[in-house]
Symmetry: C2
């Protein structure tokens, strides 16, 4: 089990953040043939979402929902995949992954074997993503939970 001192999600560089507030971080990630996606990371080293009090669960899930909306809007995927696994890095985080009919794994999960070689997918501008997240998520911490 990872402890805070050797947990990669406890040691994220501030430069890698797309968005953050006092509770959550949004960081960029990529999968070949799928392209850009986001991870939503709870700041504190907590194992499961159900270790959080209700208000904090809702804070985190509101961010996950907002990130899904932003990625849908920017990328027009055929499906969104949302998952919190953490078997390898048991620090609470959510993957928010756009899926495309021609991506290497579709219609399997991105953790399955590739069905086809990764094609080229246009990268999302980090500025565009940051701006969209800021606009969509600015109200999250003020929203009633």
């Amino acid at each position: 089990m990872s402890e805070p001192e050797n947990c990669p999600l406890c040691q994220l560089a501030p430069t890698s953040l797309l968005w953050s507030d006092a509770y959550c971080l949004v960081i960029p990630a990529q999968i070949p043939g799928i392209g850009d996606f986001c991870r939503v990371v709870w700041r504190a080293h907590v194992r499961e979402i159900t270790d959080l009090v209700d208000a904090d669960r809702h804070r985190l899930l509101n961010v996950v929902m907002g990130v899904e909306e932003v990625l849908r809007d920017l990328l027009r995927p055929v499906k969104m995949n949302v998952a919190s696994l953490g078997n390898q890095v048991p620090h609470l985080h959510w993957h928010v992954i756009p899926r495309f009919q021609d991506d290497p794994f579709f219609p399997d999960s991105v953790w399955a074997a590739e069905r086809r070689p990764p094609g080229v997918r246009q990268a999302l501008s980090e500025d565009v993503l940051r701006t969209a997240l800021e606009k969509r998520l600015s109200s999250v911490t003020k929203t009633p939970l």
Copy 2:
């Protein structure tokens, strides 16, 4: 894309339900070597959680959280995995899966290749699971969202 007339999640037999309310269904599922887990299904044929209004997103996520609590309590897994994929059946549903150090896939996702053959895991009594879900989820539809 599945349409309601050929969507398996639009045609669940009432006998297969562990719990239900006007919005959500909880159904049992099994993976060899992991054993019992639950799927939380939105009743209406909706593709993405972000197609729902906020109150409905919260209703669904409150059920997912409650199911995670019940499975943690009954099974004491080393980790919980929660995911909404729907690439094969694009009718909004969430997998709530307990994970064990010695399960066939650990520490990979259950959608990855097996690392070891499935061992025997004791089945959860459906009565015990129903009773625990009823107790935990009875307040969900009355909880402020």
